[in-house]
C-alpha cells in the first residue's frame, strides 16, 4: 500500500507486567511481557499468523479458528489469540496439518460468502480476501448451492455506512467493538448456530437502533459487511494523512484517507494518544460540510448590511479591510477596533490574529469564544493551582476509582472520552454525577452512577461547598497532603468556612434541591473511594459563579488529596477543538500567550523586542464590553475569525445591536454565518483539511493538523491574516505555520520545546514542554503546584440575580447533543441532521401537563430577554421546574432567551440559568420572523441577484 498501513498485532498488549517470558516460535527465541498472546508474540517477531476475529483493539475471542498453532507437549491445536505465552514454550505456526486445518476453515467461510470480490467495495482492503489468499484456498468442494445467507437484505438506513449481512462472517468484531470500545451495546448476534446474524438493537436496523454511529463497528469489520458509503461511491483510498479532528476538545487524530485529491474517509488513528483509535459520529463521518455548496469561496464586500454582497478579488478584499481599519482608527482612535480569535482555528492562526491586533491595531482588544465557555477555568485554576488548564491526560481515567462528573455530558459532548470513562466504569470505578438533568451517564445500559445529585441550575457552589462541609466535618480531608502541598493557614480558613452549619447538606438541601443524605454519601465516596477524579464542563463555567465553582472544585480536589498523580485531578472538558489552544495563544485582552499579563513589563518587553513595536500595557475589551462600547458609539470595527457571536453569545438582541452599530465588521468563515448578516467584509475561510497547523486539546496535548487538500478558497486562514497584516504595513513573512510555532515557542516558556519537528517525532506533546520536561507533561502538579503552594480560596455561594418568579417560573438550562456541534454550522451541513433535525425543549411531564402541552407541540419560550418558539419533548430526564434545550439551530435562536448576566470574574455568560415561561404556541415569534427576514436580505449575493 502506498499509504501508512497500520499493523495489527492481533491481541491487546499484556497488562502491565514487569516480568518477561521467553519462548521459541518457529525456531526463534522471542522474549515478550508475561501475559502476551502467542499471536502477538509472533506478530512482534514479524510472523503474521492467519486471523479473522482477532484485532489488537479488542479482547481475544477465539472464534474464527484460523490462528491455530502447534505447541510442543500440548494436545490439539490451540488458538494463538487466546493462548498466553509461557516460559520455554515451543510453538510452530506453520505445518502441513495447520495448513490443512486453516484451509478447511476458510473453505467453510467461502462456502457462505458472495463471490463478487472483484466488484466488492472492499476489494483490496478485505481481511477475508487476504486470509483466503494466505491459506491458499483454491476450490470450495462443498459447492455454492448449500444453505447460505446470500439473500439477506442490506441495511442502508445509516446515512454514512451500509450493513450487508451476506458479506458478514459473524466474527463479532463489530459487536465487540460496540461493547468494549464504544460502550453502547447496540449490536448483538441474533439467533444461534448457522442462523447467527449481526443485528442492531432488537433487529431494528442501524438508524432506528441504539447505535450512535461512532464507526467503531465499521472500523472493526474485516470485510465489507460494514462499510462507509463513501468507499462504495468513491473507491478504496490510496493514501492517508494523519491529522487532528476539528470538532470537540477531545482532539481525536484521524487518518484522512484519500483517493487522489478526494477525501474518501476519516479513520480514527490507532496511535492517537487522545482517542486511541476511537471516534464519534462527528469526527468519523460528519466532514461533508467541507465540500458543502453553502461554502463561500470568494471574498465579498458591501457598504452596508442592507445591500447584497458583491464578490471581489482577494486583493481588493484585503486592501479594503486594511483601509477600513486604518480609516476608522484614524477617525475614532486606536482603541476603536478589535478582533476575535477562533477556537476552531489552529494555534498558529489564533496567534496571528492576536498578533495582528496587538502589533497591527496597537491595542489589546482581542477576545475569543472561550470568553463564553471556559474563561472561568482559566481564572479558577490559575488562582488555585497556578495553571490555567486541566491537570491530567485522558489516559489518567484508567486509574480512577471514583469519577465525579459535574456540569458536563460527556456521552454527548465528548463522546470518545466518555467511552474511555465508561470502560473504566465497567471495570468497577464508581461514578458521581452532579447535573440538573438525568444524563446518559446517570443510567444507561451498563452504566449506573453510584450517586446522581440533581441540583437546581445555579447552585453548583452550594453543592460543592456542602460536599466540602462533609469532607471537613467528618474528618475525611487528606491532612498529610494538605500540609505538604498547600498553604495550611489558607486551608484552615477555608475549612472553618465550609464547616459552618449553614453550609451543611441539610441546611442547603432546600436551596439546591439535592437530598442531604445523597450528598453526604457522594461526598464520603469521593473522599474515601480511592483515586478521585473530577471532570467538568460548561455546566460549571457558564454561570454568574463560574469562577467560584471552578475554585470550589479545586478546593475539593486538594482537600481530598486528589491532585498530582494518575487517576485523579481536575479536568475541564473543553468544548471546541482548540479552545485550550486559543486561550494559550494570548487571545484574551489581558494576557499574552502562556497566560502572562499585558501589564507585566518583562513579558511586554519580550514581545516588543520580537515584534519591533511598543505594545499597549492596558488590557483591552472583552467581547461584551466591545459590544457595549459599540452601542455607546466608541467601538467601530471588528475582525472576527471563525466565530459566530450572533448565535453563540448571550442576549442576541444586544449582540445584534452592537454589531449593527459598527462601521466595519469583517467575518472570516466557511459559511455566511449569522454574524455575517451584520458584516461588511466577508473573507472565505479554509477547513482543517486544507491547512497545516496545530490544535491543543483538553489535556493540553498539541497535535498536528495536516493539510490533505488545497484550500478551495485559495488561502489557508493564516495566509489571509498575513495578507491583512502586510496590507496594514506589517513585515510578516511566514512561509509555513511551523515558523509561526517557532515564534510561539520562542516567546512562550511553556511551549519552549514545541516544534513541528518534535511533534512529528513524538506524535504530540502536552505543554508545558520545557527544558525540564522536553517531552511534555501528562500530569501536572506532580511534585508541587505550579504556583508553589496550592491555594484554598473561600468561594461563597451567591445566588444569581436571575430568579424565577410568577412570570418566569421555570429555569432553562442548555446543552448539546451528540450528533450536532456547537452552533451547528458544520454538522447541520452533514447527514447528522438525520439524528437531530431541530432543537427541542425538554420539559417534565408535570410542567407540561400544567401548561396543557403534549409531546411535539410548538411552544413559546419566554424570558426577560426575549422569546422564541420550538417544539416540546416531554421527558422526566429533567426535574420539575427545569427545562432544557440545545442551541444547534439558528432558527431556534436559544440565545434570544439567555440573559446578559455573567461570571463575576471573567464575564463568561450565564447560559445555564435563565428564568423562563413556556406556553403553547402556534408559530414563530415576532423576533424569529423579523430575524428571518433580515437574514434573507443580508445573505443576498449580487452575482446571484443579477441572474
Amino acid at each position: 500500500m502506498a499509504w501508512i498501513s497500520e499493523t495489527d498485532l492481533g491481541t491487546k498488549p499484556a497488562p502491565d507486567s514487569a516480568r518477561t517470558v521467553s519462548l521459541r516460535i518457529d525456531g526463534d527465541t522471542v522474549t515478550v511481557p508475561e501475559g502476551t498472546s502467542i499471536m502477538r508474540a509472533a506478530a512482534l517477531r514479524g510472523t503474521n499468523i492467519p486471523k479473522l476475529c482477532a484485532t489488537d483493539r479488542l479482547d481475544a475471542f477465539g472464534s474464527c479458528r484460523l490462528c491455530l498453532v502447534e505447541i510442543e507437549g500440548r494436545a490439539g491445536y490451540p488458538a494463538s489469540c487466546t493462548t498466553p505465552v509461557t516460559e520455554g514454550m515451543v510453538v510452530r505456526t506453520e505445518s502441513a496439518k495447520l495448513a490443512k486445518l486453516r484451509r478447511g476453515v476458510m473453505e467453510l467461510y467461502i462456502s457462505d460468502h458472495p463471490l463478487d470480490c472483484l466488484t466488492c467495495s472492499a476489494n483490496g482492503d478485505c481481511e477475508l480476501q487476504d486470509q483466503a489468499g494466505a491459506v491458499g484456498l483454491r476450490d470450495v468442494r462443498y459447492g455454492y448451492d448449500g444453505a447460505n445467507h446470500l439473500q439477506a437484505a442490506k441495511d442502508e438506513s445509516n446515512p454514512y455506512f451500509d450493513f450487508d449481512p451476506a458479506k458478514c462472517i459473524v466474527c463479532s468484531r463489530c459487536v465487540r467493538a460496540c461493547d468494549e470500545v464504544q460502550g453502547t451495546f447496540a449490536l448483538t448476534i441474533d439467533g444461534s448456530g448457522f442462523g447467527s446474524k449481526v443485528v442492531a438493537s432488537a433487529d431494528e436496523g442501524f438508524l432506528p437502533s441504539e447505535c450512535v454511529s461512532c464507526g467503531a463497528c465499521v472500523q472493526a469489520c474485516p470485510t465489507s459487511a460494514l462499510i462507509e458509503k463513501t468507499v462504495t461511491d468513491i473507491g478504496t483510498p490510496d493514501r492517508a494523512i494523519v491529522t487532528t479532528c476539528a470538532y470537540c476538545g477531545v482532539g481525536c487524530t484521524f487518518r484522512a484517507e484519500m483517493r487522489g485529491e478526494q477525501l474518501v474517509r476519516m479513520v480514527p488513528w490507532k496511535e492517537g494518544k487522545a482517542n486511541r483509535g476511537h471516534s464519534c459520529v462527528k469526527g468519523r463521518f460528519a466532514w461533508g460540510y467541507a465540500n458543502h455548496r453553502d461554502r463561500i469561496l470568494n471574498p465579498m464586500i458591501r457598504e452596508s448590511v442592507d445591500q447584497p454582497w458583491r464578490e471581489v478579488s482577494w486583493d481588493e478584499a484585503i486592501a479594503h479591510t486594511a483601509s477600513e481599519f486604518r480609516r476608522i482608527q484614524a477617525k475614532y482612535g486606536t482603541r476603536s477596533v478589535g478582533g476575535i480569535t477562533s477556537s476552531r482555528c489552529t494555534n498558529e492562526e489564533t496567534f496571528l490574529v492576536q498578533k495582528l491586533i496587538r502589533q497591527g491595531f496597537g491595542n489589546n482588544n482581542v477576545d475569543t469564544c472561550a470568553r463564553v465557555c471556559h474563561s472561568p477555568t482559566g481564572y479558577g485554576l490559575s488562582t488555585t493551582f497556578g495553571t490555567s488548564a486541566g491537570t491530567q491526560d485522558f489516559d489518567s481515567v484508567e486509574h480512577s476509582d471514583v469519577i465525579m462528573v459535574i456540569g458536563a455530558n460527556p456521552t454527548d459532548g465528548h463522546p470518545v472520552f466518555a467511552s474511555r470513562m465508561k470502560q473504566r466504569l465497567r471495570q468497577g470505578a464508581r461514578l458521581i454525577v452532579v447535573d440538573p438533568r438525568r444524563i446518559d451517564l446517570v443510567h444507561s445500559p451498563h452504566v449506573d452512577a453510584a450517586h446522581h445529585l440533581p441540583l437546581k441550575p445555579g447552585t453548583n457552589v452550594a453543592v460543592l461547598t456542602a460536599m466540602a462541609h462533609v469532607v471537613v466535618t467528618e474528618g475525611l480531608a487528606d491532612e498529610a497532603f494538605i500540609r505538604e502541598r498547600c498553604d495550611w493557614d489558607e486551608y484552615s480558613d477555608w475549612a472553618a468556612f465550609v464547616a459552618q452549619p449553614e453550609r451543611s447538606p441539610e441546611a442547603t438541601a432546600a436551596l439546591t434541591g439535592v437530598p442531604a443524605a445523597d450528598l453526604r454519601a457522594a461526598a464520603r465516596l469521593f473522599a474515601t473511594g480511592g483515586n478521585g477524579a473530577i471532570y467538568y464542563g460548561l455546566g460549571v463555567t457558564e454561570h454568574s459563579q463560574g469562577s467560584s465553582t471552578v475554585m470550589a472544585i479545586a478546593n475539593l480536589a486538594m482537600a481530598t488529596g486528589n491532585i498530582g498523580r494518575e487517576g485523579v485531578g481536575v479536568n475541564p472538558l473543553r468544548g471546541q477543538n482548540n479552545v485550550q489552544g486559543s486561550c494559550d495563544m494570548g487571545s484574551f485582552p489581558h494576557e499574552y500567550s502562556g497566560y502572562r499579563h499585558v501589564s507585566d513589563p518583562a513579558t511586554r518587553t519580550l514581545f516588543e523586542t520580537a515584534w519591533g513595536v511598543s505594545l499597549d500595557p492596558e488590557p483591552g475589551l472583552r467581547i461584551p464590553n466591545m459590544l457595549d462600547a459599540a452601542t455607546d458609539g466608541t467601538f467601530k470595527a471588528l475582525f472576527i475569525q471563525g466565530e459566530d457571536i450572533l448565535q453563540s453569545d448571550p442576549n442576541t438582541h444586544h449582540v445584534a445591536a452592537g454589531l449593527a452599530a459598527m462601521e466595519c465588521v469583517v467575518v472570516q468563515d466557511l459559511f455566511l454565518n449569522e454574524t455575517a448578516n451584520y458584516a461588511h467584509i466577508f473573507l472565505p475561510g479554509s477547513t482543517f483539511l486544507e491547512k497545516d497547523g496545530t490544535f491543543t486539546n483538553a489535556e493540553r496535548r498539541i497535535q498536528l493538523v495536516r493539510k490533505v487538500m488545497d484550500p478551495l478558497n485559495g488561502y489557508a486562514d493564516w495566509e489571509i491574516v498575513q495578507l491583512v497584516a502586510q496590507a496594514l504595513g506589517l513585515d510578516w513573512q511566514y512561509t509555513h505555520p511551523s515558523e509561526i510555532m517557532d515564534e510561539i515557542a520562542a516567546l512562550t516558556p511553556t511551549f519552549a520545546k514545541v516544534s513541528y519537528l518534535a511533534l512529528e517525532e513524538h506524535g504530540s506533546l502536552q505543554w508545558p514542554a520545557t527544558d525540564a520536561a522536553p517531552l511534555g507533561t501528562p500530569t501536572m502538579h506532580v511534585d508541587g503546584f505550579v504556583r508553589g503552594k496550592g491555594k484554598f480560596v473561600v468561594a461563597d455561594y451567591v445566588p444569581t440575580d436571575e430568579r424565577t418568579g410568577p412570570r418566569f417560573p421555570l429555569l432553562l438550562t442548555t446543552g448539546r447533543i451528540l450528533s450536532q456541534y456547537n452552533v451547528g454550522a458544520q454538522t447541520r451541513r452533514t447527514e447528522n441532521v438525520a439524528w437531530h433535525a431541530e432543537d427541542r425543549l425538554e420539559i417534565h411531564p408535570h410542567d407540561a401537563e400544567n401548561r396543557g402541552l403534549r409531546d411535539g407541540d410548538w411552544v413559546s419560550l419566554r424570558s426577560r430577554a426575549g422569546e422564541t418558539t420550538l417544539r416540546a419533548l416531554i421527558t422526566d430526564r429533567v426535574a420539575p421546574g427545569v427545562v432544557y434545550t440545545t442551541f444547534h439551530h439558528p432558527d431556534t435562536q436559544a440565545n434570544v432567551i439567555t440573559t446578559d448576566y455573567s461570571d463575576w470574574a471573567t464575564n463568561c455568560p450565564e447560559y445555564k440559568v435563565t428564568a423562563v415561561e413556556v406556553s403553547p404556541s402556534n408559530g414563530p415569534s415576532e423576533w424569529q420572523r423579523a430575524y428571518a427576514d433580515q437574514a434573507a436580505r443580508a445573505r443576498r449575493i449580487e452575482t446571484e441577484a443579477a441572474e
Binding site: 453502547t184 451495546f185 447496540a186 438493537s201 450512535v212 444507561s444 445500559p445 451528540l818
Partner: protein, 162 residues
Amino acid sequence: MTPNETAPPDTAYADAATRLLRGRPATRDALLPLLHALQDEFGYIADAMIPVVAAALNLSRADVHGVVTFYHDFRRAPAGAHLVRLCRAESCQARGAATIERIATQRLGVTMGATSADGRVTVEPVYCLGLCATGPNALVDGRPVSRLDAAKLERIAAEVLA
C-alpha cells in the same frame, strides 16, 4: 440513538417485570429468570417486552434481543392452547420416535415446529427429556408421557383436540 427517549414502555409488561424482579437484585444475571417468568405469565416474549426488560436490568435492547433469540425456549409468538413436545433425540429414535412423530403430526394436523391454524395445538421437537430407556417420549402440556404408541397418541389427540 437516544435510548432513554424511546416510546414509553408498555406498562403492563413494565409492572410485571417490576413484580417478577421483586426480591432479586436487578443485575444482568436476573435476565434469564426474568424472561422465564415473563414467558410463564404471558406465554411468550413479546417484542414490546424487550425494551421493558432492557430498562429493568439496565441493559441495551440488543443485549436482551441477543439472549432471547439465542435460547430455543423463548418463543416470540404465543403457542397453541396445547403444547406437545416430542423428543427426537437418539434414544427415542432407537425406539421408533420418527414413526411416532409422523403419526402425531398427521393426527394433530400440524407440521413439526408449527402451531395449528386454529391455534389449538403446537407441536415442537425437544432434544431429550432424560427418559431415555422408555421412549418415545413427549411432554404434553408439561406432563411427561413415555412409551408413546398409536394408542397413547390417540388419547393425547382426543384430549388436545377436544
